[in-house]
Symmetry: C2
């Protein structure tokens, strides 16, 4: 018998819970023996009291044990690396990184999630490609990673079921933004997914869960410690999410931008981040290269077209049409001219993300369907100089009314000024 009420009370009163009892609370919840309302009260108590590093590991481990785990490394006979982002606006990094890394000879098999709220999800982006299948059986998944070098699929129901339940519960009980719970959710999926080494991109700023560099650093350190306890190498990059990443926000628009980047024609900020992540992944892999050499090889794969070839083979392997002409396009494209000349001081990521949600590119509730064609392309970004009348951004909408609403929101996201703003790089910090 799990004495759930007693455990809730002990956490509420600030106690560190014994390993076995905490694990049993989570496993009991996953089995359906502990009801939602007790876990809801528990998560709120954790929100106020926190979890120790040890408790966070026990929670993570119990979540991993709640379902199946995948040993992709053994199946491939290779050291397996993975890349994950805490989520942001315009973050299509995985789409570009995966084929580049694979082109360098390092397989990348990844399970991804859907978007909720103002941040998009990798699966939603991939599903804008006509025919693309995100639900492969596990053996298909492994076979594709072996043959093509890349596969990105939805998380299977058998992997970390406790996290699925817990995440859905936290989402409706105001207990999402707790550092230990976020770290356990991310790391349980990475550990169960079988990655031996990983690059975790912690987004920081207006459009991210982590608003400050301090909390982002704390999350990074928590995840690195969890990885260490589970025998996994973790490198965290803290990257800017005060403004959207790259130019495109919206599913098909982001796929096109990822493909452009794989071809060496992507936006500067996004391309730099992609190559940096590739360098780190190759350095973590079994290639035996350092980061500088990894980065050089990644740049080469982009320059010589091998990354684009992998992209085509990957998309085709999952049933999709790899040509960008096949991507859905929105009927209304509205250019937003700058109301005055000046330097872009700020481009609020949350506002742009919300504009994309209003257009239909994201979900307000889990039941919403996504319009893959719509979105926003930000031509001018922080620090750029624009003249009055020059296009700041374009809105891709289903109809004129939706375009009106989104246009107002996007224009409000832009802040212009007469002096250039202080520089803020995309890559803010690396934590190992």
């Amino acid at each position: 018998m799990i004495r759930a009420a007693e455990l809730i009370q002990r956490k509420r009163d600030g106690e560190e819970l014994p390993d076995e009892e905490l694990a049993e609370l989570i496993l009991g919840y996953a089995r359906g023996d502990v009801p939602d309302y007790q876990l809801a009260a528990f998560c709120m108590a954790v929100f106020f009291r926190g979890l120790s590093e040890r408790e966070t590991f026990v929670l993570t481990d119990a979540m991993v044990r709640s379902g199946e785990t995948i040993d992709l490394g053994s199946a491939l006979g290779r050291k397996v690396v993975d890349k994950h982002s805490t989520g942001g606006v315009g973050d299509k990094t995985s789409l570009a990184v995966a084929p580049i890394v694979a082109a360098c000879g390092v397989p990348l098999g990844k399970m991804s999630g859907r978007g909720l709220g103002h941040t998009g999800g990798t699966l939603d982006k991939l599903e804008s490609i006509p025919g693309f299948r995100t639900e492969l059986a596990l053996d298909e998944f492994v076979a594709q990673v072996r043959e093509v070098g890349v596969a990105i699929i939805g998380q299977t129901a058998d992997l970390v079921p406790a996290d699925k339940l817990l995440y859905a519960l936290r989402d409706v009980t105001a207990t999402v933004d707790q550092l230990s719970l976020i770290a356990a959710s991310i790391m349980s999926k990475k550990i169960a997914g079988g990655a031996q080494a990983m690059v975790l991109d912690v987004k920081v700023g207006d459009g991210a869960f982590m608003r400050s560099l301090e909390t982002a650093r704390e999350l990074a350190e928590t995840m690195i410690a969890l990885g260490r306890r589970a025998g996994r190498e973790v490198v965290c990059i803290l990257t800017d999410m005060d403004q959207p990443l790259g130019a495109a926000v919206g599913n098909a628009l982001e796929v096109k931008e990822a493909l452009d980047t794989v071809r060496g024609q992507g936006p500067t900020d996004f391309s730099a981040l992609v190559l940096d992540a590739c360098g780190k992944l190759l350095a973590l892999s079994d290639l035996g290269v350092d980061e500088a050499e990894g980065r050089r090889r990644a740049a080469e794969a982009v320059a010589d077209g091998s990354a684009e070839s992998v992209w085509r083979r990957w998309i085709e392997a999952q049933g999709g049409t790899p040509d960008e002409s096949a991507l859905p396009a929105a009927p209304v494209v509205r250019e937003l001219p700058a109301p005055a000349g000046g330097y872009v001081q700020r481009l609020g990521a949350t506002r742009v993300g919300n504009a994309a949600v209003h257009l239909g590119a994201g979900r307000r509730t889990k039941e919403d369907t996504v319009d893959h064609a719509v979105g926003i392309v930000c031509h001018a970004k922080r620090g750029d100089r624009v003249e009055a009348g020059q296009p700041l951004a374009s809105v891709h909408a289903r109809d004129e009314t939706a375009a009106d609403v989104a246009a107002r929101e996007v224009l409000a996201a832009y802040e212009l000024g007469s002096e250039p703003p202080p520089e803020r790089p995309v890559l803010l910090e690396v934590v190992r």
Copy 2:
């Protein structure tokens, strides 16, 4: 639509919630539109953030509005008074107060609850009387109060359903001991029950929810403020619960002690508290007397036998046999001699209450059944001088094994010393 997750988050972040939205959260919960897990997270957020006086009133009022209310005053054409206790060990005050007050010409119709944990419930005590019915229809209840002057029944399902749901939820989510939630629970039932004036007995000490005089005072002030907003007069007495009240702990044993007290043969501490409460109730009533006169009339009703006559009529009206010989008796009665001579320094109420639960007099879980015959009678109480071998207490048990366990627990509750302990009166403070 109730945006429950948003309200939880705002409370979590320390905001005072708008009246309408808070009320709708509670009413939505009572209707089944807001799930248990959201209220569980909400209650835990309230545990950490508290509720303002205004929020506590809105909560109380919404709980009242979640069901039916009774206007006993209009039905009787009288000002209606009520008495309530926050619960303690050996607290049979209502059983003695009701017939005495009624004998003085003030009707008392009361809805009571069952016990859980180490404190007993008035309904359980009354049900130890053979034939006694605690479930009367509302019109039977009103008619009995009119004709006999007293009725005590179980709370009907239609009265404050939100409190029933919320209390059951708090019980399993470690959110019981929060002052505003306790105050709202008590006051919603008193307000819906129709009392225009009331004496609330807030127990303080080892065997009570409120461990310190400070928190008890705070609870008293919260309930008085809630009463004032709802147009009810509230007088709070803060009374000692470091040791059991009176001598008897256990259902039939307590009924007998209440009857003894109604006859003027009760234990000193308990009798004094009963007469004090009666004086306050009569002063709050429409008799137009002050407390001293109320107390004199109550003492007279005890002395002249009129209170005992009302007791008999009351018990018979609810189907019970009023003679004490009809009460169930336990087969094993074990006297516990003092291991040494000395003054009783302490008689731990929780320990005695737990011993009674072990004997079967109380419930560990809501599903437990109660053994009405068993219990403990404490012959010696704090400050009493005992000689070695003189009986400290007697244990009334179903069998010898149960008596052994309870005897050990009761003996451990007694602390003897060579000097008399500092005096601590039963009535610690009055808050108005």
